[in-house]
């Protein structure tokens, strides 16, 4: 038992991300409960149609104002994805940080109690946080856990560190491309170097770019209607590129809220990205993009067509921004090479070689086909010895933070780090900052 250092105390690991909330037992290799972070809600007090006036379709924000605390929530796999009259869609996270704590207990409770069927008061719980989390946020999380879920012990760990642990490394340069944020975190001996940590909302830019490609007409096709299948009554098969033949569910149109619609559209875009988009592994090259086979994709309306070079333009946004785009948007999210050089510049020269030899690529956004190859090509152009650890298993890539937490919380030597209920009551909030460094 002592040989491999593990000692299971049936701890729980909770990883709240922008797209999904992952929960499971420490020591497992896959989270038991994976539920969307998005939730549907209906305000019970009269004001049912919350209009989102300045909703910019370019960069999607789920909500701009916190959910009313007395709203009826629809959570989990059957929450936001089911059409309900007047249901709004919300997400407690913005830029991977929790900004709206109202629905968070409900989300956690749904994951732990409804899906995992555990009693949180019986299990110590390890929660993850992004490296740029604020002290107030983590203290609030500790408060929720101790006061609402009555956990016996609590710990909050950094996703950068956990991703490095999941890769089996104590020191690493963690490149995490998530649903909302792309971040680069240097980790040394299990500690984040805060000065070298950088992040940007790059995945949102990529999604906005994809939406732009789809909804704007080109020479060969018209703009594509991104209607979700929940709003389509029936459709007929059509030839590729032909106009779709479908009829809408007229009864639902009037009851659909703007936020639900935006959420559905962004989901359609995400699905299109996931099945079609890619990255050229040797930098942008028109001929190389044209030489790749086109891929067919069918939208819920029945419209289907082949996507050629444009599918590689989507992934290119991670690595290269055209000068005119930069000129138009002064506060464009930084791309990966810029983030990398920024992060390394802040690190000690001695460390750079170590970090470049231990690059960990993680996050669901990094699952673009060709992403790891392109990153390797970009890095080896500037550094002599680069080694990228990119798990081939999508589960490990998407839930690397959870996996690292699962490893950490099942270590025998870790159990002295838990913040116990007794300590929480004795020291209060400052104990979180002292213990979770």
């Amino acid at each position: 038992m002592v040989n491999y250092g593990g000692d299971e105390v049936s701890a729980l690991v909770l990883d709240i991300g922008s797209s999904s909330v992952r929960a499971g037992y420490a020591g497992d290799d896959i989270p038991k409960a994976i539920i969307p972070s998005f939730y549907g809600y209906k305000a019970t007090t009269g004001d049912g149609d919350v209009q989102m006036g300045e909703n910019a379709p370019e960069i999607f924000e789920s909500t701009t104002k916190p959910t009313p605390s007395d709203a009826k929530l629809y959570l989990g796999q059957n929450g936001p994805s089911i059409w309900r009259e007047g249901m709004e869609i919300g997400n407690p996270l913005r830029d991977a940080l929790i900004f709206d704590f109202n629905p968070v207990p409900a989300l956690i409770s749904h994951a732990l109690v409804d899906v995992m069927r555990v009693n949180p008061s019986e299990h110590p719980i390890l929660v993850t946080e992004p490296a740029w989390n604020t002290a107030a946020n983590r203290e609030r999380m500790a408060e929720i856990m101790f006061e609402e879920f009555h956990v016996p012990a609590f710990y909050i760990a950094n996703t950068g560190v956990l991703n490095a642990f999941a890769a089996g490394k104590g020191s690493a340069l963690v490149i995490d491309v998530g649903h909302a944020m792309a971040s680069i975190t240097p980790v040394v001996d299990g500690f984040v170097l805060r000065k070298g940590m950088v992040s940007s909302a790059l995945p949102k830019l990529v999604q906005a770019h994809a939406r732009h490609i789809l909804s704007n007409p080109t020479q060969t096709r018209r703009g594509i209607e991104l209607l979700p299948h929940q709003l389509i009554a029936n459709k007929l098969p059509v030839e590729p590129g032909a106009l779709p033949k479908f009829s809408l569910r007229e009864d639902r149109i009037s009851g659909t809220t703007e936020s639900w619609r935006v959420w559905c559209e962004s989901r359609e875009v995400d699905e299109w990205i996931q099945s079609v988009a890619g990255v050229l592994d040797q930098g942008w090259n028109d001929q190389a993009a044209a030489s790749r086979p086109a891929r067919q994709y069918e939208f819920p309306t029945g419209y289907n067509t082949y996507f050629g070079p444009e599918r590689y333009q989507v992934g290119e946004q991670f690595f290269f921004h055209s000068p005119q785009l930069v000129a138009q948007n002064p506060n464009l999210p930084k791309n990966i090479p810029t983030l990398l050089s920024e992060s390394l510049r802040a690190c000690d020269p001695d460390l750079r070689q170590v970090l470049m030899g231990n690059v960990v690529l993680t996050g669901g956004g990094s699952l673009f086909p060709g992403f790891a190859d392109r990153l390797e090509a970009e890095l080896s152009r500037n550094f002599p010895h680069v080694k990228i650890h990119a798990p081939g298993n999508p589960i490990e890539r998407r839930y690397g933070g959870w996996l690292g937490g699962s490893i950490l919380a099942s270590l025998g030597t870790f159990h002295q780090l838990w913040i116990s209920r007794e300590e929480w009551q004795e020291h209060g909030k400052p104990i979180v900052g002292q213990r979770c460094k």
Binding site: S10, A153, L193, R194, P349, G412, H415, S420
Partner: protein, 526 residues
């Protein structure tokens, strides 16, 4: 398949052949069956019966090694047990699964990994007396020590987490390290030291930090990283050029050594010299010496290093009468080195005489030893290995070896004679003359390979005479073709017939040696 007769009978429902007998002796039969040993099939046992008691011991089931017993009978009881961690300061109780046999009061096994790094602290008084520094305030130093303690001197993390006061300038990693280590050094130096000076110096040494050197090193690293691709390419090209030049130089040096070796041989003083012919080495040793004197003047400027390594030429062995007298006076006997060999391999270093005692050949060693023990001489231990004694021992061993060789030859000849006697006795039923004639012929055939062919032709003639009637004609025809055997065949053809009649086959031993010649002849004949 081994099936007993009774099995077949029962399968075919035939009546037993010996029913009365069986019915008469069911009791003992039963008891025997019960004694059937383990590990033998019933059918086989029915066939061999209980009459082979030795089988019982053989076929008893082999006793296997006892299986290791994990825990109590393979089943381990685990139980969920709450535990306290000695590494914690509070009373948090967590639970885990442990073997029920484990001691419930045992300390948590992971608590021992909770080690705190030892760190220095200082008092206000110490600070004011020793640690004042114009660049650092006490608050800053306190903060630095706190951070270092908190992160266990992980300097990269310390540098990341150390926050200078708002008005202070940012500190570099070297500044932090320098301050910390200098404070530690001062504390060690000024505090009373319990141990000896050496351990104190060693401890001080472990806190040594050269800020300027570290900074310079880091600058070098930075400049290495700041190179443009062109600079890197240029550096690489230069590096390759350097390697090429080095290789050229090595090649040149090798060629020069080769040349020197060819010209001078062993006298060049270069290692790894291949063995040379006697004549050439003699030339290099004697005839070349004079020439080298002239060559030296020319060679010195071009290859000075090599001339130095050559050293002075080996002194000529010119024994004056005086040195001979000196030798005689001091009982010095000079041994001529083996002049014929100039290789390094044959060079014999200085040695004691007793180390080089003459020894018989390894193949003869046991026989020599046996012979000497028969004579009561111990040759392995020479009490006084003087020169004379060694020479006498050598001659003794030589004589013994010669004796053994002679004995071997005698033995062989005696054996031959015995064999021939036996053969002679067998042949006595034939004509007396033939027998006498045959003996020298056979010896002749056995002795020389050249004679083998003759005798073989003889044997051939024998065989052919056996096979067909016109053997003579055949042998004659063959003799015409086979130039060398012609005369012999022709002279013996007549006698062959006679031998054939007497059924004597001679020169059997030679058949094997000239098999190929025979085959050739047969092919021709066929």
């Amino acid at each position: 398949m081994a099936v007993s007769a009774s099995d077949i009978r029962s399968a075919l429902s035939l009546p037993s052949s010996s029913t009365p007998v069986q019915s008469a002796a069911p009791g003992p039969r039963k008891s025997q069956v019960t004694k059937k040993p383990e590990g033998i099939s019933r059918e086989l046992y029915a066939l061999i019966g209980p009459s082979a008691p030795s089988l019982v011991a053989h076929l008893a089931k082999p006793r296997l090694k006892q299986k290791p017993n994990f825990g109590s009978g393979g089943k381990v009881k685990w139980e969920w047990r709450p535990f306290r961690n000695a590494g914690r300061t509070d009373s948090l109780q967590l639970g885990h699964w442990v073997k029920a046999t484990d001691d419930p009061d045992a300390e948590y096994p992971f608590a021992k990994y909770n080690v705190q790094s030892q760190s220095y602290t200082y008092s206000q008084e110490e600070y004011t007396r020793f640690l004042e520094d114009k660049d650092w305030t006490k608050d800053e130093t306190d903060q630095l020590f706190n951070v270092v303690r908190e992160y266990d001197t992980r300097w990269y993390v310390v540098h990341d987490r150390y926050e200078p006061p708002p008005d202070g300038s940012p500190r570099s990693l070297e500044d932090l390290k320098d301050r910390y280590y200098s404070v530690c050094r001062k504390l060690i130096r000024n505090r009373p030291w319990a141990g000896d000076e050496a351990s104190k110096a060693q401890l001080l040494n472990s806190y040594q930090f050269d800020k300027d050197r570290e900074r310079m090193r880091k600058d070098y690293i930075a400049s290495l990283e700041d190179r443009t691709p062109e600079e890197i390419a240029e550096e690489e090209a230069l590096f390759i050029e350097l390697k090429r030049l080095e290789q050229n130089e090595r090649k040149f040096k090798k060629e020069r050594d080769e040349l020197l070796r060819t010209l001078l041989g062993i006298d060049s003083g270069l290692p790894d010299i291949v063995a040379e012919e006697d004549g050439l080495s003699a030339l290099s040793a004697e005839g070349f010496k004079k020439r080298k004197k002239n060559a030296n003047e020319i060679e010195i400027p071009s290859t000075p290093s090599n001339i130095i390594s050559l050293g002075p030429p080996p002194p000529k062995r010119a024994h004056s009468a005086k040195s001979a007298a000196y030798d005689a006076q001091h009982c010095i006997i000079r041994v001529e080195p083996p002049a014929s060999s100039t290789t390094k391999i044959t060079h014999t270093p200085v040695h004691l005489r007793s180390f080089k005692l003459p020894a018989p050949k390894a193949t003869l060693l046991p026989k020599v030893t046996q012979a000497l023990t028969e004579l009561g001489i111990n040759h392995t231990r020479l009490v006084m290995p003087t020169r004379e004694n060694c020479a006498r021992l050598e001659s003794l061993i030589e004589a013994t070896t010669a004796l053994i060789d002679t004995k071997k030859v005698v033995d062989r000849v005696e054996q031959d004679i015995r064999v021939l006697r036996v053969r002679l006795g067998r042949a006595s039923e034939g004509t007396e003359e033939d027998g006498k004639e045959g003996t020298p012929m056979e010896v002749d055939a056995g002795a020389g390979a050249g004679a083998g062919a003759d005798a073989d032709a003889d044997a051939d003639a024998d065989a052919d005479a056996d096979a067909d009637a016109d053997a003579d004609a055949d042998a004659d025809a063959e003799g015409e073709v086979d130039g060398r055997a012609q005369s012999i065949l022709s002279t013996r053809s007549g006698r062959g017939r006679k031998q054939n009649q007497s059924r004597r086959s001679i020169s059997v031993s030679s058949i094997g040696t000239s098999a190929s010649a025979r085959v050739g002849k047969r092919q021709k004949r066929g």
